[in-house]
C-alpha cells in the first residue's frame, strides 16, 4: 500500500530524513515514535507530499509520489491526514468543513457530500454539533471532526501526526477511541504518537526514529514491547522515559 525506499531530505545542509525505508501493507496500523525533532512529522508528511523529498522513492497504492508528474492533489484527496493542531477551517461550520473538499475536489453533489459527511460526524459522536464553528468546540471535539473530515473523503489510508498531543488529558481518550475503532475496522493507518497504550492495543508494527532522521527500529509490536533485549540502546532509553508516565 505504502512503500518508502531510501528516502532522504535536507533543509539546506541540515538532514531531516536519512535513508528511510519501510512498507505498510493494507490494513496495517503502524505507530511511529521517537524524540522531538527526529523527523516523525516530516516522514509522515512525505507520504502525501506535503513535504517534498530530495532522494528516494515513495509509492502510495501504486502511485509514485516522488515523480514530479504525479497529480498530487488527486493523490492527497484519498490520503486522509489528521494534524496535531486539528487545522479545521475556522471560518466554516462543522458541516461545511466536512463537505467542502468532497464537493470541490471529488465533485460530489452537495447532498451526497452532506450525507457522507454527517454519517462520519455521527460515527465520531458529534451530530449535535453539526452547525457549530470549530472555535465553539473543545479540542477533543475538533480533532474528532478533523478525523470525520478526512474519513468523508473515503481515504485508502489515514495519516495521524500526534493527534492527541495538543489535547488536555481528559480529551485524549475520546480521540483514541475513534482511532482504535478505525483500526479495528481494518483501516490502513500510520500514526505518529507517543500513546503507547494505543500502540499496544492496535499497532501491527512500531517504527522508532532517532535524531538525525534515521529509522532505528521497524518491528512488530510484539517485538517492540515484548523483547527489549533485542532493541537498540537508544530505543530502550526512550521507552524507559515515556513509559514512566
Amino acid at each position: 500500500m505504502i512503500e518508502l525506499k531510501s528516502v532522504s531530505k535536507w533543509y539546506g545542509s541540515f538532514q531531516v530524513l536519512d535513508d528511510c525505508s519501510t512498507r505498510i501493507e493494507k490494513g496495517e496500523v503502524v505507530v511511529v515514535c521517537g524524540p522531538s525533532g527526529s523527523g516523525k512529522s516530516t516522514l509522515i508528511k512525505t507520504i502525501n507530499a506535503l513535504e517534498p523529498v530530495q532522494k528516494g522513492e515513495i509509492w502510495v497504492n501504486g502511485t509514485p509520489v516522488h515523480d514530479p508528474k504525479t497529480d498530487l492533489p488527486k493523490l492527497r484527496s484519498h490520503v486522509g491526514m489528521v494534524f496535531q493542531h486539528f487545522e479545521l477551517f475556522p471560518h466554516l461550520t462543522v458541516t461545511q468543513n466536512l463537505t467542502i473538499a468532497q464537493v470541490k475536489v471529488l465533485r460530489r453533489s452537495l447532498d451526497e457530500a452532506r450525507k457522507r459527511g454527517l454519517k462520519m460526524l455521527e460515527r465520531v459522536g458529534l451530530m449535535a454539533h453539526k452547525d457549530k464553528f470549530p472555535g465553539q468546540l473543545s479540542g477533543g471535539q475538533q480533532q474528532r471532526v478533523a478525523i470525520a473530515r478526512a474519513l468523508s473523503m473515503d481515504p485508502i489510508v489515514m495519516l495521524f501526526d500526534e493527534p492527541t498531543s495538543a489535547l488536555d488529558p481528559e480529551m485524549v481518550g475520546e480521540v483514541l477511541d475513534v482511532m482504535v475503532s478505525l483500526a479495528n475496522e481494518g483501516m490502513t493507518m500510520m500514526c505518529v504518537t507517543h500513546e503507547m497504550g494505543f500502540a499496544r492495543k492496535v499497532a501491527s508494527r512500531v517504527i522508532f526514529m532517532d535524531v538525525g532522521g534515521k529509522i532505528l527500529e521497524d518491528c512488530t509490536k510484539e517485538d517492540f514491547f515484548g523483547n527489549p533485549d533485542a532493541r537498540q540502546p537508544r530505543t530502550k532509553d526512550f521507552l524507559g522515559k515515556i513509559l514512566q508516565h
Binding site: P73, F89, H91, K104, M153
Partner: protein, 251 residues
C-alpha cells in the same frame, strides 16, 4: 463674522441666488458644482479602490506562494516601487512620463490616470496587508487545505484568503478611508473633485470658511459611510467562537 451659506445657491456665472439652490436649464450653482465634485471624488476613490483591491490581493497572494521565487520577487518589487514613491510624484509620472513611453496612453483623461495612480499606489499597501494576513495564519492551514486535495489555487480560494481577509478588515478600512483622502491629489491633473472645487470656489466667492466647512463635511460623511459599511461587513463575516481580529490593527 457672519456666515453666508446662501453663496451655495448662487449661480456660478452671474452670482445671482437661484431659487431652490439648484440651477435649472444647464445653469450651475455652487451647490451643483460641489455635489458634482463630490461625485468625482467618490468615483475616483471607488474605482481606485476596486483596482487596488484586485491588484493588492493578487500581488499580496503571489508574495506568499511556496517555491516560486520569481513571483515573490516580482511582488516585492511591486510593493517597494508603489509604496515608496510619493503619491503626487506617481501622479505626475503617470501624467508626463508614462505617455511619453507608451504613446497609446497620451489620450487618457486625467480621471483615468488618477484612478490608475491612486489604485496602484494603494495596491502596494493592500498587498502588504494581504501578505501579512496570509502569513499570520497558522502554518498548518495551508497543509490542511492541501491534504484534503485542494490545488494551490483552491487552498487560497477556500482556506487562506477567506481567513486572511477576516484578519485584515481593520487595516483595509483605514486603507479605504485613505483612498478618499488621497483622492484629493486628483486636482493636480485637473480633475474637478472636492479639493479642486474648494480652491476654485473660495477664490471666486471669497467665502473660504463656508466652502471649506462644507467640503470637510462631505469628506467626513464619506469617511463615516465607509466606516459603517466596513463595520457591517466585519459583523457579517464574523465567525462565532473565533477571537475578533481587532488586534491586527491599522497603521
Amino acid at each position: 463674522m457672519a456666515w453666508d451659506w446662501q453663496m451655495f445657491c448662487e449661480d456660478t456665472l452671474d452670482r445671482t441666488v437661484r431659487e431652490g439652490c439648484f440651477g435649472k436649464d444647464g445653469d450651475i450653482t455652487y451647490l451643483d458644482w460641489m455635489l458634482s465634485a463630490w461625485g468625482w471624488t467618490v468615483s475616483v476613490s471607488l474605482l481606485a479602490l476596486l483596482l487596488a483591491l484586485v491588484a493588492g490581493v493578487v500581488i499580496g497572494t503571489i508574495r506568499t506562494l511556496p517555491d516560486s521565487k520569481w513571483t515573490v520577487r516580482f511582488g516585492n518589487a511591486w510593493v517597494e516601487v508603489f509604496r515608496n514613491i510619493p503619491l503626487l510624484v506617481q501622479i505626475f509620472l503617470w501624467y508626463h512620463v508614462v505617455p511619453a513611453i507608451f504613446p497609446a496612453m497620451k489620450s487618457m483623461s486625467g480621471f483615468v490616470l488618477v484612478v490608475l495612480a491612486l489604485g496602484f499606489f494603494t495596491s502596494a499597501r493592500i498587498a502588504e496587508q494581504v501578505r501579512s494576513g496570509i502569513q499570520a495564519l497558522p502554518r498548518g492551514q495551508r497543509h490542511a487545505g492541501m491534504a484534503v486535495g485542494f490545488t494551490t489555487w483552491q487552498t487560497y480560494r477556500y482556506v487562506l484568503l477567506p481567513n486572511a481577509f477576516r484578519i485584515i478588515i481593520p487595516p483595509l478600512t483605514s486603507e479605504t478611508m485613505n483612498i478618499f483622502k488621497n483622492s484629493s491629489v486628483a486636482f493636480a491633473v485637473s480633475v474637478t473633485e472636492l479639493t479642486m472645487f474648494a480652491m476654485q470656489a473660495q477664490e471666486e466667492t471669497g467665502r473660504g470658511v463656508e466652502v471649506y466647512l462644507a467640503v470637510t463635511g462631505l469628506y467626513i460623511v464619506s469617511a463615516f459611510t465607509i466606516n459603517r459599511i466596513m463595520t457591517f461587513v466585519e459583523k457579517r463575516v464574523r465567525v462565532p467562537g473565533l477571537a475578533a481580529p481587532g488586534a491586527a490593527g491599522g497603521h
